[in-house]
């Protein structure tokens, strides 16, 4: 494989009548080792409040407001490490995976020796995604995103720009 | 013709001076209203000692609450209300009965009494009425208040006051006729 990537793509065909769940995003000791930590915890109340402050004049913010309209929660943990070996990427990722029940189906699993390993899981109800977990593990960074509620994946992937806020990580990443 | 300028000097009222802590002014207020307060208790109980005690208590309460009295008319209303309610309270607490004719024998003679015996008999019969009827009759005939004014003092609807008054007069007539 020219890119050195092993990509496994899973197709979800069946409907799983499972409810979207909030998962435990506690990673004991990880924050102490990290140079930078991002911790986003937004329940339904906070999302409704945030929606009121999203601008109508900005296309991205309008887009985000539409996306979070029916969400029950958005949770993010991201740890940026100063050097390789500061944490165990596999153990951290497994800690999240182990919490995902049968209703959670893998959508994408990207594995790379040099870049990010990204796994995306969806809680499916019919053809609707009712929850999403994104696990991104690379030598210097570990990120988990948990979105609870109906998610439009295409719309999420189409989000561009900085939304007028600083980048979440001090370390600029190159995915290209 | 010489133009005369009239200078009006606003003098503080007795009430205002009493509110300001003037004891002489407060004593003056007592003298102005003591007959009314004392008579409410006297007509209620027919007992001189009890009437004196209740009247004193009412004025002590007034002394404590002078700050809340806004005007002369408010003062009169306040005294009538507190005196009446205190009489009802005392009756209900002690179940004091009206004095008998014998007990009332040493009542001070009243001027202008067309028939002292009838007055005495009436006071005794009023004293035998239920407490609320007694209060309503006292306010109606001692203080010459109409039912609308009485209802504010006793805290009852005006129709209830009228009903008490009607029943009281019926009972008094019945008792007078039976003797």
């Amino acid at each position: 494989m020219k890119t050195g990537l092993l990509v496994l793509v899973f197709t979800i065909a069946a409907a799983f009548p499972a409810a979207a769940q909030q998962i435990n995003l506690d990673f004991p000791g990880l924050a102490d080792k990290a140079d930078e930590v991002v911790d986003v915890t937004l329940d339904a109340t906070m999302l409704r409040m945030a929606a009121k402050f999203l601008s109508n004049d900005d296309a991205d913010q309008r887009n985000v407001r539409d996306m979070i309209h029916n969400l029950e929660g958005v949770y993010v943990r991201s740890y940026d490490f100063g050097s390789d070996g500061d944490y165990d990427p596999r153990a951290s990722a497994d800690r999240v995976r182990s919490q995902l029940g049968a209703n959670w189906k893998p959508l994408v699993n990207v594995r790379s020796r040099t870049k990010e390993n990204v796994s995306i899981f969806a809680d499916m109800r019919g053809d609707k995604v009712n929850g999403l977990v994104i696990i991104s593990a690379e030598p210097h960074e570990f990120t988990v995103v948990n979105i609870v509620g109906p998610v439009d994946i295409d719309r999420l992937a189409s989000l561009e720009g900085e939304f007028g806020i600083p980048r979440f990580s001090a370390r600029e990443k190159s995915h290209d | 013709m010489t133009a005369m300028a009239t200078e009006v000097i606003a003098m503080p009222t007795v009430l205002a001076r009493a509110r300001g802590g003037d004891h002489d002014a407060f004593a003056e207020l007592i003298e102005t209203h003591e007959a009314m307060v004392y008579s409410v208790a006297w007509n209620f109980f027919g007992d001189r000692g009890k009437a004196e005690e209740i009247a004193q208590d009412v004025f002590l309460q007034l002394y404590r609450n002078l700050a809340t009295i806004e005007s002369e008319s408010h003062l009169l209303f306040w005294l009538r209300q507190v005196a009446t309610r205190r009489c009802i309270d005392v009756t209900r607490r002690s179940r004091l009965k009206a004095v008998s004719l014998d007990d009332a024998g040493d009542l001070p003679a009243r001027e202008h009494a067309a028939d002292p015996l009838l007055d005495k008999r009436l006071r005794q019969l009023v004293g035998e009425l239920p407490d609320v009827q007694r209060a309503v009759v006292t306010l109606r005939y001692q203080e010459d208040l109409d039912p609308a004014e009485i209802c504010r003092i006793v805290g009852m609807p005006v129709n209830t006051v009228k009903s008490h008054l009607h029943r009281a007069l019926q009972a008094l007539r019945r008792k007078l006729e039976s003797h």
Binding site: V145 | H23, L122
Partner: protein, 102 residues
């Protein structure tokens, strides 16, 4: 017989025994009865102003706090969505890249 006229006469006001006012004043002295203080109008006005100011201040502070909470929540949402969107795009790019290599 006119009952109402007779009642008016029988129940007319009677003065208390002489010296009543003096006896009341003596009780006030003896029992140390205290008149409740009259607060001057200016004091009440000042108290009302202070209360109003406190309420307005409280409302303003509450409004400012809510504004800050809302803006913070908005920034958090945008950050979360940006991170999620970036990871999604990365995964898609890798999938499409593999597809185009084949």
């Amino acid at each position: 017989m006119n009952l109402e006229r007779d009642l008016t006469r029988a129940l007319r006001r009677t003065p208390p025994p002489p010296g009543f006012a003096g006896r009341v004043m003596q009780r006030i002295e003896r029992e140390g009865v205290q008149a409740r203080r009259v607060r001057p109008v200016w004091w009440r006005a000042a108290a009302a102003s202070l209360t109003l100011a406190a309420l307005l201040g409280g409302y303003t502070a509450h409004h400012v706090i809510e504004q800050r909470r809302g803006e913070h929540a908005r920034d958090q949402v945008l950050l979360a969505m940006r991170i999620a969107g970036a990871k999604m795009r990365y995964a898609r790019q890798q999938v499409h890249g593999i597809g185009s290599e084949r």
